[in-house]
């Protein structure tokens, strides 16, 4: 998590000295942070829940369907389909995505783990990463049933 990202505009309420400490990530002298350090070291992250994933999907996620046209090759078609040559071969693609700030890359990896390592995590640019799954079998067997909290989507 980027502390400055979380602070946003609120940093203006700090004094110039305090802003200097925050922006440059400097620990002021005489401040005891041992308990904080201990707390961070002992921090145990909760496992992802379906409600949390729903929240991410609602805010930063997407699910879409698209069509692709592939020119049929006559040699690939059996004789019985020779009359269908005028009809282009159409395929249907899916895209299930969740986008996060690059500081939350580990969260996207956890999401991939939540979905039984299906799909992948990719870099969009220096600020963003994306979890993406598009395989029909992944969607049928894992992602949609988990999102719907069902054993299967049927």
């Amino acid at each position: 998590m980027n502390p400055l990202g979380k602070l946003g505009n609120k940093i203006k309420y700090l004094t110039p000295d305090e802003q200097h400490y925050v922006i440059n990530n400097i620990q002021p002298e005489g401040v005891d942070i041992s308990k904080l350090t201990e707390s961070i070291q002992n921090f145990k992250q909760n496992k992802l829940t379906l409600e949390f994933i729903h929240g991410l999907f609602d805010g930063d996620g997407g699910l879409s369907v698209y069509f692709n046209k592939k020119a049929p090759t006559s040699s690939a078609l059996p004789n019985s389909q020779a009359g269908d040559l005028a009809i282009p071969k159409l395929s249907v693609g899916f895209s299930f995505t969740i986008v996060q700030d690059s500081h939350n890359l580990s969260l996207l990896n956890e999401i991939k783990s939540y979905f039984n390592e299906r799909g992948g995590v990719y870099k969009i640019n220096n600020n963003c990463n994306i979890y993406k799954a598009g395989s029909k079998s992944d969607l049928i067997s894992v992602i949609l049933p988990k999102m719907a909290n069902k054993e299967s989507i049927e």
């Binding site: 969607l139 049928i140 719907a148």
Partner: protein, 66 residues
């Protein structure tokens, strides 16, 4: 799937619901018989946003791919 089962806004719930329906239909493969129904179902899960009616969408897909 019942919308009340999921804590999701209807728009997002619809995407899961209609994607599931399309995948069910696709289990038989994409063919002349189910193509029209799949195109109509995909209206609810389309990539592009913006105002477009179901009829306009179906027409657009058919123009682009046939």
């Amino acid at each position: 799937m019942d919308p009340s089962d999921l804590n999701l806004p209807l728009l997002k719930y619809n995407k899961i619901y209609y994607s599931s329906k399309i995948l069910e239909r696709l289990s038989e493969g994409l063919n002349k018989e189910n193509m029209n129904e799949i195109i109509m179902l995909s209206y609810n899960v389309r990539q592009e946003s913006g105002d477009i009616t179901l009829e306009e969408y179906v027409e657009k897909v058919k123009q682009n791919f046939f």
